[in-house]
């Protein structure tokens, strides 16, 4: 059987993204205070947003801390609810000039800033698994272009292939220091009614996996005011958003893109 396996990793039984992100998450647990106690806030918090989103795959299924902790292991330290969903589907957005957009029927959203940073080392050579990942430089570039700081952000739509990806991305953007995530997430921070809503569709963990378009299109739709029961503002006990921060990343934390969006 091993003779049929092609790679220098597969022969040791190493397959797929869950295990590689779990390697990153394990190194982070060794480097600073994090782990399932932190990630449960992300899985449970995003599920509450999905419960408000009729299009979410997990719309009808609640999740609490106990259920998160009781779920089966996939690749330790990740349990079932640390991983994104597997689904078919499609998302799209239309990009044009601000001038053209002003005349359209739909409320436009402005791209204030974009940043990209791609460390792109092979996973076994990566020294950024516990941060700073590409999110740090990408975020700095995006904020510089946008001419605003973190304090101006009203909500975040973060690429969430796994729970840990959300933590390390927000950490590298500067929302909290290494190991402060548990305290930052604790107290329903990212949930409906929270002070910093994150992944308000349920995200890839609880809505659906559309690669980088899950976070990006949700950021756009929230600023357009098209989000129904999960709409940020009075309806969900959160601030009406002017500025939303979106992220995407690829490979095993090997590429990162950040976008700062603003209501026009």
């Amino acid at each position: 059987m091993l003779m049929e396996l092609g790679g220098d990793e597969e022969v040791f039984g190493h397959f797929g993204a869950a295990a590689s992100y779990a390697l990153a998450a394990r190194r982070a647990m060794h480097t600073f205070r994090t782990g399932p106690e932190t990630w449960r806030h992300i899985a449970v918090g995003q599920r509450k947003w999905a419960n408000l989103n009729p299009r979410a795959m997990m719309h009808d299924r609640t999740l609490n801390d106990e259920e998160y902790m009781a779920a089966r292991w996939l690749v330790e330290p990740f349990r079932l609810f640390d991983a994104c969903l597997v689904n078919d589907g499609g998302r799209a957005y239309v990009v044009t000039t601000a001038e053209r957009a002003r005349d359209l029927r739909q409320t436009p959203v402005l791209i204030m800033g974009l940043g990209q940073h791609n460390p792109s080392n092979a996973p076994q050579d990566a020294t950024y698994l516990a941060g700073p990942t590409g999110a740090k430089v990408a975020g700095e570039k995006a904020f510089q272009m946008a001419g605003v700081t973190l304090e101006a952000v009203d909500a975040c739509e973060i690429y969430d292939c796994f729970t840990y990806t959300v933590e390390i991305t927000l950490q590298d953007y500067g929302f909290f220091g290494p190991g402060e995530g548990e305290d930052w997430f604790n107290g329903h921070t990212i949930e409906p009614g929270g002070r910093m809503p994150v992944n308000t569709s349920g995200g890839q963990l609880s809505e659906a996996y559309y690669m980088g378009l899950t976070p990006l299109t949700e950021g756009v739709m929230q600023l357009m005011g098209r989000c129904g029961d999960r709409q940020l503002g009075d309806k969900t006990g959160t601030k009406t958003p002017e500025i939303i921060l979106c992220s995407d990343n690829g490979g095993i934390l090997q590429s990162h893109a950040c976008a700062v969006l603003r209501r026009m």
Partner: protein, 126 residues
């Protein structure tokens, strides 16, 4: 296996961890390549590692993503950083999955799984 990594796997059959070392800058590299990833020079020699290092990070598989590994569950996949510098994917054996930790010192142990194929695995240094 391919022409680039064949010398490594041939070395494993002889119970030697062989890596390319750049003639120009001295980087010991993995995976094998025609050019040095640090200085881009082509000249290199093969050296033999002492087979000692530490665990950079690791995971415990509870799901077999290939049926061939079902009987091995739960098993540990780790990135081991060798003293000579290269980091490679491998398995940690010879201890319980709960006894593995990051930065733990490990040494190579050879698993002859087929007459044509030997895997370099690692175990805690006694």
């Amino acid at each position: 296996m391919n022409p680039d990594n064949r010398p490594f796997w041939d070395g494993c059959r002889a119970h030697e961890l062989r890596f390319q070392k750049c003639f120009h800058c001295g980087l010991v590299r993995w995976p094998p390549a025609t050019h040095c990833p640090a200085c881009h020079e082509t000249a290199s020699e093969w050296i033999v590692s002492e087979g000692k290092g530490r665990i950079y990070t690791y995971v415990v598989y509870h799901v077999a993503y290939h049926p061939g590994f079902k009987d091995d569950l739960p098993y540990v996949v780790a990135i081991v950083e060798l003293e000579e510098g290269p980091r490679l994917f491998t398995n940690i054996i010879g201890c319980g999955t709960e006894d593995v930790s990051c930065d733990m010192p490990v040494e190579v142990v050879w698993e002859d799984i087929h007459e044509a194929f030997t895997l370099p695995k690692f175990r805690p240094v006694p």
